[in-house]
Protein backbone atom coordinates (compact mmCIF):
# COMPACT_ATOMS: atom_id res chain seq x y z
CA UNK A 1 0.00 0.00 0.00
CA UNK A 2 1.64 3.20 -1.19
CA UNK A 3 1.35 6.07 1.27
CA UNK A 4 2.91 8.94 -0.58
CA UNK A 5 2.90 12.60 0.25
CA UNK A 6 2.84 14.36 -3.09
CA UNK A 7 4.96 17.49 -2.81
CA UNK A 8 5.03 19.70 -5.89
CA UNK A 9 4.15 16.64 -7.98
CA UNK A 10 6.85 14.49 -6.39
CA UNK A 11 5.67 11.42 -4.44
CA UNK A 12 7.54 11.21 -1.14
CA UNK A 13 7.17 7.95 0.74
CA UNK A 14 10.12 8.24 3.11
CA UNK A 15 8.92 10.71 5.69
CA UNK A 16 12.24 11.12 7.46
CA UNK A 17 13.78 14.30 6.08
CA UNK A 18 17.46 14.63 6.96
CA UNK A 19 19.47 17.81 7.43
CA UNK A 20 23.11 17.92 6.35
CA UNK A 21 24.65 20.69 8.42
CA UNK A 22 26.65 18.93 11.08
CA UNK A 23 28.22 15.86 9.49
CA UNK A 24 31.98 15.35 9.48
CA UNK A 25 32.17 15.00 5.70
CA UNK A 26 30.12 15.11 2.52
CA UNK A 27 30.93 11.47 1.86
CA UNK A 28 29.54 10.44 5.25
CA UNK A 29 26.45 12.59 4.67
CA UNK A 30 25.83 10.86 1.37
CA UNK A 31 26.26 7.40 2.94
CA UNK A 32 23.83 8.25 5.73
CA UNK A 33 21.21 9.60 3.33
CA UNK A 34 21.63 6.52 1.20
CA UNK A 35 21.35 4.13 4.16
CA UNK A 36 18.15 5.80 5.37
CA UNK A 37 16.67 5.88 1.87
CA UNK A 38 16.22 9.62 2.25
CA UNK A 39 14.10 11.31 -0.40
CA UNK A 40 14.18 14.87 0.96
CA UNK A 41 17.23 16.57 2.43
CA UNK A 42 18.03 20.11 3.48
CA UNK A 43 21.24 21.87 2.47
CA UNK A 44 22.41 25.30 3.65
CA UNK A 45 23.29 27.40 0.65
CA UNK A 46 25.90 29.22 2.70
CA UNK A 47 27.97 26.08 2.91
CA UNK A 48 27.93 25.43 -0.84
CA UNK A 49 31.16 26.65 -2.41
CA UNK A 50 32.67 24.42 -5.05
CA UNK A 51 36.28 25.22 -5.87
CA UNK A 52 37.39 26.08 -2.34
CA UNK A 53 38.78 22.65 -1.54
CA UNK A 54 35.78 22.10 0.71
CA UNK A 55 33.47 19.26 -0.17
CA UNK A 56 30.72 19.71 -2.69
CA UNK A 57 27.73 18.31 -0.90
CA UNK A 58 25.21 18.99 -3.66
CA UNK A 59 26.99 16.76 -6.16
CA UNK A 60 27.64 14.07 -3.52
CA UNK A 61 23.95 13.49 -2.72
CA UNK A 62 22.49 10.10 -3.60
CA UNK A 63 20.40 9.68 -6.73
CA UNK A 64 16.75 10.61 -6.33
CA UNK A 65 17.23 12.71 -3.21
CA UNK A 66 15.39 16.03 -3.47
CA UNK A 67 17.15 19.06 -2.06
CA UNK A 68 15.37 21.62 0.02
CA UNK A 69 17.72 24.60 0.29
CA UNK A 70 17.54 26.20 3.69
CA UNK A 71 18.10 29.88 4.30
CA UNK A 72 20.20 29.28 7.39
CA UNK A 73 22.30 32.28 8.30
CA UNK A 74 19.49 34.70 7.46
CA UNK A 75 18.86 37.11 10.32
CA UNK A 76 15.92 38.79 8.67
CA UNK A 77 13.43 38.28 5.87
CA UNK A 78 15.42 40.25 3.35
CA UNK A 79 18.43 37.95 3.69
CA UNK A 80 16.23 34.87 3.49
CA UNK A 81 14.62 36.11 0.28
CA UNK A 82 17.99 36.79 -1.28
CA UNK A 83 19.28 33.33 -0.36
CA UNK A 84 16.18 31.66 -1.82
CA UNK A 85 16.51 33.59 -5.07
CA UNK A 86 20.20 32.80 -5.33
CA UNK A 87 19.45 29.11 -4.77
CA UNK A 88 17.02 29.08 -7.67
CA UNK A 89 19.37 31.09 -9.89
CA UNK A 90 22.19 28.67 -9.02
CA UNK A 91 20.10 25.74 -10.16
CA UNK A 92 19.52 24.33 -6.68
CA UNK A 93 15.80 24.10 -7.26
CA UNK A 94 12.75 25.82 -5.84
CA UNK A 95 12.17 23.91 -2.62
CA UNK A 96 13.07 26.27 0.21
CA UNK A 97 13.15 25.76 3.93
CA UNK A 98 12.67 29.25 5.27
CA UNK A 99 14.76 29.75 8.37
CA UNK A 100 14.98 33.28 9.76
CA UNK A 101 16.93 33.43 13.01
CA UNK A 102 17.64 36.72 14.74
CA UNK A 103 18.79 35.02 17.93
CA UNK A 104 22.25 33.50 18.08
CA UNK A 105 21.99 32.23 21.62
CA UNK A 106 19.00 29.91 21.24
CA UNK A 107 18.62 29.86 17.45
CA UNK A 108 14.88 30.35 17.77
CA UNK A 109 13.10 31.57 14.63
CA UNK A 110 11.28 34.85 13.94
CA UNK A 111 7.75 33.79 13.01
CA UNK A 112 6.64 37.15 11.66
CA UNK A 113 9.56 37.55 9.26
CA UNK A 114 9.16 33.88 8.30
CA UNK A 115 5.51 34.47 7.39
CA UNK A 116 6.42 37.46 5.23
CA UNK A 117 9.10 35.49 3.41
CA UNK A 118 6.70 32.60 2.92
CA UNK A 119 4.10 34.89 1.33
CA UNK A 120 6.63 36.42 -1.03
CA UNK A 121 8.34 33.18 -2.06
CA UNK A 122 5.04 31.38 -2.74
CA UNK A 123 4.06 34.23 -5.06
CA UNK A 124 7.42 33.87 -6.81
CA UNK A 125 6.72 30.20 -7.47
CA UNK A 126 8.82 28.55 -4.77
CA UNK A 127 7.76 25.46 -2.80
CA UNK A 128 8.03 26.82 0.70
CA UNK A 129 8.60 25.05 4.02
CA UNK A 130 8.66 27.59 6.85
CA UNK A 131 10.49 26.60 10.05
CA UNK A 132 8.74 28.19 13.03
CA UNK A 133 8.07 28.25 16.74
CA UNK A 134 4.79 26.35 17.16
CA UNK A 135 1.90 28.80 17.06
CA UNK A 136 -1.53 28.04 15.71
CA UNK A 137 -2.38 31.47 14.33
CA UNK A 138 0.97 31.83 12.58
CA UNK A 139 0.79 28.29 11.25
CA UNK A 140 -2.64 28.99 9.79
CA UNK A 141 -1.38 32.15 8.12
CA UNK A 142 1.59 30.29 6.65
CA UNK A 143 -0.72 27.58 5.35
CA UNK A 144 -3.09 30.18 3.90
CA UNK A 145 -0.10 31.86 2.24
CA UNK A 146 0.49 28.59 0.39
CA UNK A 147 3.27 26.89 2.38
CA UNK A 148 3.81 23.30 1.24
CA UNK A 149 4.06 22.38 4.92
CA UNK A 150 4.42 24.15 8.22
CA UNK A 151 7.46 23.11 10.26
CA UNK A 152 7.20 23.77 14.00
CA UNK A 153 10.16 22.95 16.19
CA UNK A 154 9.98 20.07 18.64
CA UNK A 155 12.63 21.61 20.89
CA UNK A 156 15.46 24.09 20.30
CA UNK A 157 17.88 23.17 17.48
CA UNK A 158 20.55 20.71 18.55
CA UNK A 159 19.00 20.11 21.96
CA UNK A 160 17.98 16.48 21.31
CA UNK A 161 15.25 16.96 23.89
CA UNK A 162 12.40 15.43 21.90
CA UNK A 163 8.89 16.68 21.25
CA UNK A 164 8.75 19.25 24.04
CA UNK A 165 6.12 21.22 22.16
CA UNK A 166 3.73 18.26 21.89
CA UNK A 167 0.58 20.05 23.08
CA UNK A 168 1.01 22.83 20.52
CA UNK A 169 2.03 20.55 17.67
CA UNK A 170 -0.97 18.31 18.34
CA UNK A 171 -3.30 21.28 18.00
CA UNK A 172 -1.55 22.40 14.83
CA UNK A 173 -1.89 18.94 13.29
CA UNK A 174 -5.59 18.93 14.09
CA UNK A 175 -6.40 22.47 13.00
CA UNK A 176 -4.12 23.47 10.14
CA UNK A 177 -5.01 22.69 6.56
CA UNK A 178 -1.44 21.90 5.55
CA UNK A 179 0.97 19.10 6.38
CA UNK A 180 2.90 19.57 9.64
CA UNK A 181 6.57 18.58 9.78
CA UNK A 182 8.32 18.64 13.13
CA UNK A 183 11.77 20.11 12.63
CA UNK A 184 14.50 20.41 15.27
CA UNK A 185 15.07 18.98 18.69
CA UNK A 186 14.24 15.32 17.98
CA UNK A 187 17.00 13.37 19.66
CA UNK A 188 15.78 9.78 19.35
CA UNK A 189 13.82 7.54 17.03
CA UNK A 190 11.09 7.26 19.69
CA UNK A 191 10.61 11.04 19.58
CA UNK A 192 10.31 10.91 15.79
CA UNK A 193 7.82 8.04 16.08
CA UNK A 194 5.77 10.08 18.55
CA UNK A 195 5.47 12.94 16.04
CA UNK A 196 4.29 10.57 13.35
CA UNK A 197 1.74 8.89 15.64
CA UNK A 198 0.25 12.34 16.22
CA UNK A 199 -0.31 12.72 12.49
CA UNK A 200 2.65 14.79 11.41
CA UNK A 201 3.38 14.41 7.71
CA UNK A 202 7.12 14.02 8.26
CA UNK A 203 9.95 14.91 10.60
CA UNK A 204 13.26 16.63 9.93
CA UNK A 205 16.32 15.48 11.84
CA UNK A 206 19.95 16.55 11.72
CA UNK A 207 22.00 16.87 14.91
CA UNK A 208 20.99 13.59 16.54
CA UNK A 209 22.12 11.61 13.51
CA UNK A 210 25.08 13.76 12.44
CA UNK A 211 26.92 13.65 15.74
CA UNK A 212 26.05 10.06 16.66
CA UNK A 213 28.91 7.56 16.95
CA UNK A 214 27.31 5.52 14.13
CA UNK A 215 25.25 7.94 12.04
CA UNK A 216 24.33 5.42 9.33
CA UNK A 217 22.73 2.94 11.70
CA UNK A 218 20.99 5.64 13.71
CA UNK A 219 19.54 7.14 10.51
CA UNK A 220 18.10 3.75 9.62
CA UNK A 221 16.62 3.49 13.12
CA UNK A 222 15.02 6.91 12.69
CA UNK A 223 13.62 5.93 9.29
CA UNK A 224 12.03 2.78 10.73
CA UNK A 225 10.62 4.69 13.69
CA UNK A 226 9.09 7.24 11.35
CA UNK A 227 7.57 4.47 9.26
CA UNK A 228 6.19 2.75 12.36
CA UNK A 229 4.71 5.98 13.66
CA UNK A 230 3.10 6.68 10.31
CA UNK A 231 1.62 3.19 10.13
CA UNK A 232 0.24 3.56 13.65
CA UNK A 233 -1.34 6.87 12.77
CA UNK A 234 -2.96 5.43 9.67
CA UNK A 235 -4.16 2.34 11.51
CA UNK A 236 -5.58 4.48 14.31
CA UNK A 237 -4.38 4.06 17.86
CA UNK A 238 -6.82 2.60 20.37
CA UNK A 239 -8.14 5.02 22.97
CA UNK A 240 -6.17 5.12 26.18
CA UNK A 241 -8.28 3.60 28.92
CA UNK A 242 -9.33 6.13 31.55
CA UNK A 243 -10.07 5.15 35.15
CA UNK A 244 -13.77 4.28 35.52
CA UNK A 245 -16.04 6.03 38.00
CA UNK A 246 -16.77 3.73 40.94
CA UNK A 247 -20.55 4.19 40.81
CA UNK A 248 -22.56 4.96 37.64
CA UNK A 249 -23.21 8.65 37.09
CA UNK A 250 -26.61 7.97 35.49
CA UNK A 251 -27.84 5.38 37.99
CA UNK A 252 -30.43 7.81 39.32
CA UNK A 253 -32.31 7.60 36.01
CA UNK A 254 -33.26 3.98 36.65
CA UNK A 255 -33.25 1.23 34.01
CA UNK A 256 -34.87 2.21 30.71
Amino acid sequence: MQDAWIIDGVPVTNRLFLGTGKFGSAALTARVLGAAGTQVTTVALRRVEPGSGGEDLLSALPEGCRVMINTSGARDGEEALRIARLARAAGAGTWIKVEVIPDQRHLLPDNLETLRVTETLVKEGFVVFPYMSPDLAMGRRMAEAGAAAVMPLGAPIGSNRGLRTRELVEIMVREIQAPIVVDAGLGSPSAACECMELGCAAVLVNTAVAVAPDPETLAVAFARAVEAGRLAFRAGLPPVREAEASSPLTGFLGTP
Binding site: K22, S25, R46, S52, G54, V211
Partner: protein, 378 residues
Protein backbone atom coordinates in the same frame (compact mmCIF):
# COMPACT_ATOMS: atom_id res chain seq x y z
CA UNK B 1 22.24 48.83 32.84
CA UNK B 2 25.68 49.88 34.04
CA UNK B 3 28.24 50.62 31.36
CA UNK B 4 30.44 47.83 30.06
CA UNK B 5 33.60 49.17 31.69
CA UNK B 6 31.92 49.36 35.12
CA UNK B 7 30.38 45.92 34.66
CA UNK B 8 33.71 44.29 33.86
CA UNK B 9 35.69 46.24 36.43
CA UNK B 10 33.24 45.20 39.14
CA UNK B 11 33.60 41.56 38.09
CA UNK B 12 37.38 41.85 38.01
CA UNK B 13 37.54 43.44 41.45
CA UNK B 14 35.13 40.99 43.11
CA UNK B 15 36.66 38.52 45.55
CA UNK B 16 37.22 35.04 44.11
CA UNK B 17 36.91 32.61 47.00
CA UNK B 18 37.79 28.96 46.71
CA UNK B 19 34.64 27.07 45.58
CA UNK B 20 32.89 24.96 48.20
CA UNK B 21 33.62 21.22 48.06
CA UNK B 22 31.51 19.56 45.37
CA UNK B 23 30.78 22.81 43.51
CA UNK B 24 32.81 21.87 40.43
CA UNK B 25 30.93 18.59 40.05
CA UNK B 26 27.66 20.43 40.58
CA UNK B 27 28.39 22.96 37.82
CA UNK B 28 29.46 20.17 35.49
CA UNK B 29 26.22 18.32 36.19
CA UNK B 30 23.84 21.29 35.96
CA UNK B 31 25.55 23.53 33.42
CA UNK B 32 27.34 26.84 33.89
CA UNK B 33 24.75 29.57 33.63
CA UNK B 34 25.98 32.24 36.00
CA UNK B 35 29.11 34.28 36.53
CA UNK B 36 29.65 32.37 39.74
CA UNK B 37 29.50 29.06 37.84
CA UNK B 38 32.09 30.38 35.41
CA UNK B 39 34.36 31.39 38.30
CA UNK B 40 34.11 27.85 39.64
CA UNK B 41 35.24 26.43 36.29
CA UNK B 42 38.15 28.88 36.06
CA UNK B 43 39.27 28.27 39.64
CA UNK B 44 42.19 26.09 40.75
CA UNK B 45 39.59 23.68 42.18
CA UNK B 46 38.45 22.85 38.63
CA UNK B 47 41.91 21.92 37.39
CA UNK B 48 41.66 18.27 38.57
CA UNK B 49 38.36 18.02 36.61
CA UNK B 50 39.87 18.99 33.27
CA UNK B 51 38.95 15.69 31.60
CA UNK B 52 35.31 16.00 32.66
CA UNK B 53 35.26 19.61 31.50
CA UNK B 54 36.70 18.57 28.14
CA UNK B 55 34.06 15.86 27.69
CA UNK B 56 31.24 18.25 28.53
CA UNK B 57 32.70 20.93 26.23
CA UNK B 58 33.03 18.44 23.41
CA UNK B 59 29.42 17.29 23.77
CA UNK B 60 28.11 20.86 23.76
CA UNK B 61 30.23 21.85 20.78
CA UNK B 62 29.06 18.84 18.81
CA UNK B 63 25.43 19.66 19.56
CA UNK B 64 25.74 23.26 18.50
CA UNK B 65 28.32 23.16 15.71
CA UNK B 66 28.42 19.53 14.64
CA UNK B 67 31.61 17.99 13.26
CA UNK B 68 32.67 21.16 11.50
CA UNK B 69 35.53 23.63 11.82
CA UNK B 70 35.51 26.86 9.86
CA UNK B 71 38.79 27.87 8.23
CA UNK B 72 40.04 31.43 7.77
CA UNK B 73 43.25 33.32 7.12
CA UNK B 74 44.50 36.85 7.70
CA UNK B 75 45.54 39.22 4.95
CA UNK B 76 47.99 41.86 6.17
CA UNK B 77 47.44 45.16 4.37
CA UNK B 78 49.83 47.27 6.45
CA UNK B 79 52.36 46.91 9.26
CA UNK B 80 52.59 50.64 9.92
CA UNK B 81 51.68 51.32 13.54
CA UNK B 82 51.61 54.27 15.89
CA UNK B 83 51.40 52.19 19.06
CA UNK B 84 54.28 50.95 21.15
CA UNK B 85 52.73 47.83 22.67
CA UNK B 86 55.48 46.18 24.69
CA UNK B 87 54.57 42.68 23.47
CA UNK B 88 54.21 43.29 19.72
CA UNK B 89 56.55 43.07 16.73
CA UNK B 90 54.75 45.97 15.07
CA UNK B 91 55.61 48.40 17.90
CA UNK B 92 56.52 51.82 16.47
CA UNK B 93 59.75 51.53 18.49
CA UNK B 94 60.96 48.56 16.45
CA UNK B 95 63.22 49.92 13.73
CA UNK B 96 61.87 47.74 10.93
CA UNK B 97 60.79 48.89 7.47
CA UNK B 98 57.03 49.46 7.16
CA UNK B 99 54.79 48.91 4.22
CA UNK B 100 51.18 49.51 3.25
CA UNK B 101 49.87 47.62 0.26
CA UNK B 102 48.40 49.57 -2.64
CA UNK B 103 45.06 48.43 -3.99
CA UNK B 104 46.54 46.40 -6.84
CA UNK B 105 48.81 44.67 -4.35
CA UNK B 106 45.81 43.97 -2.12
CA UNK B 107 44.08 42.40 -5.07
CA UNK B 108 47.10 40.20 -5.84
CA UNK B 109 47.18 39.07 -2.21
CA UNK B 110 43.46 38.37 -2.28
CA UNK B 111 43.84 36.38 -5.47
CA UNK B 112 46.73 34.33 -4.08
CA UNK B 113 44.87 33.68 -0.83
CA UNK B 114 41.59 32.78 -2.54
CA UNK B 115 43.51 30.34 -4.75
CA UNK B 116 44.29 28.31 -1.61
CA UNK B 117 40.55 27.85 -1.04
CA UNK B 118 40.19 30.38 1.77
CA UNK B 119 36.85 32.22 1.62
CA UNK B 120 36.79 33.74 5.10
CA UNK B 121 39.49 36.38 5.34
CA UNK B 122 40.58 38.70 8.11
CA UNK B 123 41.91 42.03 6.81
CA UNK B 124 44.67 42.96 9.18
CA UNK B 125 46.76 46.06 9.74
CA UNK B 126 48.79 47.81 12.40
CA UNK B 127 47.13 50.86 13.85
CA UNK B 128 48.02 53.89 11.79
CA UNK B 129 45.24 56.10 10.53
CA UNK B 130 47.90 58.10 8.68
CA UNK B 131 49.46 55.20 6.75
CA UNK B 132 46.31 53.14 6.34
CA UNK B 133 43.22 55.30 6.76
CA UNK B 134 39.60 54.18 6.77
CA UNK B 135 39.22 55.21 3.12
CA UNK B 136 42.09 52.91 2.11
CA UNK B 137 40.62 50.05 4.14
CA UNK B 138 37.24 50.56 2.47
CA UNK B 139 38.82 50.56 -0.97
CA UNK B 140 40.80 47.42 -0.09
CA UNK B 141 37.64 45.67 1.13
CA UNK B 142 35.84 46.57 -2.11
CA UNK B 143 38.66 45.01 -4.14
CA UNK B 144 38.65 41.87 -2.00
CA UNK B 145 34.90 41.32 -1.65
CA UNK B 146 34.15 39.47 -4.90
CA UNK B 147 36.61 36.69 -4.01
CA UNK B 148 35.39 35.96 -0.48
CA UNK B 149 32.33 35.06 1.57
CA UNK B 150 33.34 36.91 4.70
CA UNK B 151 35.74 39.78 5.33
CA UNK B 152 36.64 40.48 8.91
CA UNK B 153 38.48 43.58 10.07
CA UNK B 154 41.35 43.56 12.51
CA UNK B 155 42.48 47.14 12.12
CA UNK B 156 42.65 50.28 14.27
CA UNK B 157 39.41 50.74 16.25
CA UNK B 158 36.99 52.94 14.32
CA UNK B 159 33.86 54.89 15.13
CA UNK B 160 30.41 53.48 14.40
CA UNK B 161 30.28 55.50 11.18
CA UNK B 162 33.58 54.02 10.06
CA UNK B 163 32.27 50.50 10.55
CA UNK B 164 29.15 51.40 8.62
CA UNK B 165 31.33 52.57 5.72
CA UNK B 166 33.34 49.35 5.79
CA UNK B 167 30.17 47.27 6.06
CA UNK B 168 28.87 48.90 2.90
CA UNK B 169 32.23 48.21 1.25
CA UNK B 170 31.86 44.49 2.06
CA UNK B 171 33.23 43.83 5.53
CA UNK B 172 30.93 41.79 7.78
CA UNK B 173 32.99 40.95 10.87
CA UNK B 174 35.22 42.65 13.38
CA UNK B 175 38.05 41.34 15.51
CA UNK B 176 39.44 43.50 18.26
CA UNK B 177 41.39 42.20 21.22
CA UNK B 178 41.26 44.12 24.45
CA UNK B 179 44.65 42.46 25.21
CA UNK B 180 44.04 42.90 28.94
CA UNK B 181 40.93 43.84 30.92
CA UNK B 182 43.10 45.23 33.73
CA UNK B 183 43.22 49.02 33.14
CA UNK B 184 46.46 49.51 35.09
CA UNK B 185 48.25 46.71 33.26
CA UNK B 186 46.76 48.00 30.00
CA UNK B 187 48.30 51.42 30.61
CA UNK B 188 51.65 49.82 31.41
CA UNK B 189 51.93 47.69 28.26
CA UNK B 190 50.55 50.40 25.95
CA UNK B 191 52.83 53.30 26.82
CA UNK B 192 51.97 55.49 23.83
CA UNK B 193 49.85 55.78 20.71
CA UNK B 194 46.09 55.85 20.10
CA UNK B 195 45.69 52.42 21.68
CA UNK B 196 46.28 53.95 25.11
CA UNK B 197 42.58 54.81 25.24
CA UNK B 198 41.28 51.78 27.21
CA UNK B 199 37.54 52.66 27.19
CA UNK B 200 37.50 53.51 23.46
CA UNK B 201 38.99 50.11 22.66
CA UNK B 202 36.66 48.34 25.08
CA UNK B 203 33.59 49.83 23.39
CA UNK B 204 34.83 48.97 19.89
CA UNK B 205 32.90 45.69 19.46
CA UNK B 206 29.74 47.47 20.60
CA UNK B 207 30.24 50.15 17.93
CA UNK B 208 30.78 47.47 15.30
CA UNK B 209 27.64 45.66 16.39
CA UNK B 210 25.59 48.85 16.29
CA UNK B 211 26.88 49.52 12.78
CA UNK B 212 25.36 46.18 11.72
CA UNK B 213 28.34 43.84 11.40
CA UNK B 214 27.27 40.19 11.60
CA UNK B 215 30.07 39.03 13.81
CA UNK B 216 32.50 40.33 16.42
CA UNK B 217 35.48 38.51 17.89
CA UNK B 218 37.06 39.42 21.18
CA UNK B 219 40.35 38.40 22.70
CA UNK B 220 42.61 38.76 25.67
CA UNK B 221 46.31 38.29 25.10
CA UNK B 222 47.05 35.48 27.52
CA UNK B 223 50.36 35.78 29.28
CA UNK B 224 50.19 39.47 30.18
CA UNK B 225 48.34 39.21 33.49
CA UNK B 226 46.15 37.02 35.74
CA UNK B 227 44.61 34.61 33.24
CA UNK B 228 41.64 33.69 35.41
CA UNK B 229 40.43 37.27 35.62
CA UNK B 230 41.22 37.90 31.93
CA UNK B 231 39.18 34.85 30.90
CA UNK B 232 36.36 35.87 33.23
CA UNK B 233 36.17 39.38 31.75
CA UNK B 234 36.45 38.05 28.21
CA UNK B 235 33.48 35.75 28.77
CA UNK B 236 31.43 38.46 30.47
CA UNK B 237 32.24 40.87 27.64
CA UNK B 238 31.00 38.28 25.13
CA UNK B 239 27.82 37.72 27.10
CA UNK B 240 27.23 41.45 27.47
CA UNK B 241 27.33 41.78 23.67
CA UNK B 242 25.06 38.76 23.18
CA UNK B 243 22.56 40.24 25.62
CA UNK B 244 22.41 43.52 23.73
CA UNK B 245 22.58 42.12 20.18
CA UNK B 246 20.79 38.77 19.94
CA UNK B 247 21.44 38.39 16.20
CA UNK B 248 25.17 39.07 16.55
CA UNK B 249 27.58 36.15 16.27
CA UNK B 250 30.05 36.61 19.08
CA UNK B 251 33.37 34.84 19.05
CA UNK B 252 36.61 34.86 20.99
CA UNK B 253 40.22 34.04 20.34
CA UNK B 254 42.62 32.82 22.97
CA UNK B 255 45.97 34.14 21.74
CA UNK B 256 48.95 33.38 23.90
CA UNK B 257 51.89 35.73 23.94
CA UNK B 258 54.62 34.56 21.54
CA UNK B 259 58.20 35.69 21.01
CA UNK B 260 58.46 38.47 18.39
CA UNK B 261 60.90 40.96 16.82
CA UNK B 262 60.91 43.07 20.03
CA UNK B 263 62.10 40.02 21.93
CA UNK B 264 60.40 39.90 25.37
CA UNK B 265 59.13 36.80 27.21
CA UNK B 266 55.55 36.58 28.52
CA UNK B 267 55.39 37.99 32.07
CA UNK B 268 52.71 35.50 33.18
CA UNK B 269 52.95 32.45 30.90
CA UNK B 270 49.81 30.35 30.37
CA UNK B 271 50.47 26.63 29.98
CA UNK B 272 48.59 24.15 27.82
CA UNK B 273 46.53 22.83 30.74
CA UNK B 274 45.47 26.34 31.66
CA UNK B 275 44.62 27.09 28.03
CA UNK B 276 42.38 24.03 27.90
CA UNK B 277 40.74 25.01 31.19
CA UNK B 278 39.92 28.46 29.76
CA UNK B 279 38.69 27.04 26.45
CA UNK B 280 36.39 24.46 28.02
CA UNK B 281 35.12 26.84 30.72
CA UNK B 282 34.17 29.37 28.03
CA UNK B 283 32.36 26.68 26.03
CA UNK B 284 30.40 25.52 29.07
CA UNK B 285 29.44 29.10 29.97
CA UNK B 286 28.55 30.19 26.40
CA UNK B 287 27.53 27.11 24.39
CA UNK B 288 27.10 29.01 21.09
CA UNK B 289 30.29 31.07 21.35
CA UNK B 290 32.62 30.98 18.34
CA UNK B 291 36.13 30.03 19.49
CA UNK B 292 39.16 30.48 17.25
CA UNK B 293 42.66 29.08 17.64
CA UNK B 294 45.33 30.66 15.50
CA UNK B 295 48.67 29.53 14.09
CA UNK B 296 50.38 31.11 17.07
CA UNK B 297 49.82 27.67 18.56
CA UNK B 298 51.73 24.57 17.47
CA UNK B 299 50.33 22.09 14.99
CA UNK B 300 50.27 19.34 17.63
CA UNK B 301 48.34 21.43 20.14
CA UNK B 302 45.90 22.73 17.54
CA UNK B 303 45.17 19.20 16.37
CA UNK B 304 44.36 18.19 19.91
CA UNK B 305 42.17 21.22 20.55
CA UNK B 306 39.86 20.22 17.68
CA UNK B 307 36.84 18.72 19.37
CA UNK B 308 37.33 20.50 22.70
CA UNK B 309 35.28 23.55 21.79
CA UNK B 310 37.18 25.19 18.94
CA UNK B 311 34.96 26.24 16.01
CA UNK B 312 37.40 28.16 13.81
CA UNK B 313 41.02 27.73 12.81
CA UNK B 314 43.33 29.78 10.68
CA UNK B 315 45.14 27.88 7.95
CA UNK B 316 47.89 28.50 5.42
CA UNK B 317 48.74 31.70 7.25
CA UNK B 318 51.25 34.37 6.35
CA UNK B 319 51.54 36.97 9.13
CA UNK B 320 53.45 39.30 6.77
CA UNK B 321 52.41 42.18 4.58
CA UNK B 322 52.36 40.84 1.03
CA UNK B 323 53.10 37.32 2.25
CA UNK B 324 50.77 35.38 -0.06
CA UNK B 325 51.75 36.87 -3.41
CA UNK B 326 55.43 37.38 -2.43
CA UNK B 327 56.37 34.76 0.17
CA UNK B 328 59.32 35.67 2.40
CA UNK B 329 58.81 39.43 2.32
CA UNK B 330 58.63 41.71 5.38
CA UNK B 331 58.76 41.04 9.12
CA UNK B 332 55.94 38.90 10.53
CA UNK B 333 53.74 40.24 13.36
CA UNK B 334 54.43 37.09 15.33
CA UNK B 335 56.15 33.78 14.77
CA UNK B 336 53.88 31.18 13.23
CA UNK B 337 54.03 27.87 15.05
CA UNK B 338 51.79 25.99 12.64
CA UNK B 339 53.00 26.59 9.09
CA UNK B 340 50.69 24.05 7.44
CA UNK B 341 48.93 24.88 4.19
CA UNK B 342 45.16 25.07 3.81
CA UNK B 343 45.17 21.66 2.12
CA UNK B 344 47.18 20.16 4.99
CA UNK B 345 44.80 21.56 7.62
CA UNK B 346 41.83 20.29 5.59
CA UNK B 347 43.41 16.84 5.48
CA UNK B 348 44.12 16.88 9.23
CA UNK B 349 40.51 17.81 10.02
CA UNK B 350 39.12 15.13 7.72
CA UNK B 351 41.38 12.54 9.31
CA UNK B 352 39.82 13.51 12.65
CA UNK B 353 36.30 13.20 11.29
CA UNK B 354 35.70 16.93 10.94
CA UNK B 355 34.46 18.80 7.89
CA UNK B 356 36.59 21.86 7.08
CA UNK B 357 34.03 24.57 6.33
CA UNK B 358 35.39 27.01 3.77
CA UNK B 359 32.26 29.09 3.21
CA UNK B 360 29.54 29.93 5.69
CA UNK B 361 27.68 32.67 3.86
CA UNK B 362 26.24 32.37 0.36
CA UNK B 363 27.30 35.69 -1.15
CA UNK B 364 30.26 37.97 -1.41
CA UNK B 365 29.97 39.79 1.91
CA UNK B 366 28.49 43.13 2.78
CA UNK B 367 27.07 45.05 -0.12
CA UNK B 368 23.69 43.78 -1.23
CA UNK B 369 24.50 44.86 -4.81
CA UNK B 370 27.17 42.16 -4.94
CA UNK B 371 24.70 39.63 -3.60
CA UNK B 372 22.15 40.63 -6.21
CA UNK B 373 24.86 40.36 -8.87
CA UNK B 374 25.53 36.83 -7.60
CA UNK B 375 21.85 36.01 -8.05
CA UNK B 376 21.84 37.40 -11.58
CA UNK B 377 25.17 35.85 -12.50
CA UNK B 378 24.44 32.30 -11.38
Amino acid sequence: MAGLAEHLEAARARAWPEPAPGRVEQVLARGAGTEEDLRVLLSPAAAPHLEAMARAAQALTLRHFGRTIQLYAPLYVSDACENTCLYCGYSARNPVPRRTLGLDEVEREAEALAATGIRHVLLLSGESAAACPESHLAAAVRRMAPRFRSIGLEVQPLGEEGYRTLLEAGADALTVYQETYDPALYAKVHPSGPKRDFPFRLETPERGARAGLRQVNLGALLGLGDWRREALCLALHARWLQDRHPALEVGVSLPRLRPHAGGSRPPAPVGDRELVQILTALRLFLPRLGIAVSTRESAALRDNLVGLGVTKMSAGVSARVGGYAEPGAEVPQFEISDPRSVAEIQAMLRARGYDPVMADWPFPPGDSALADAAVRGS
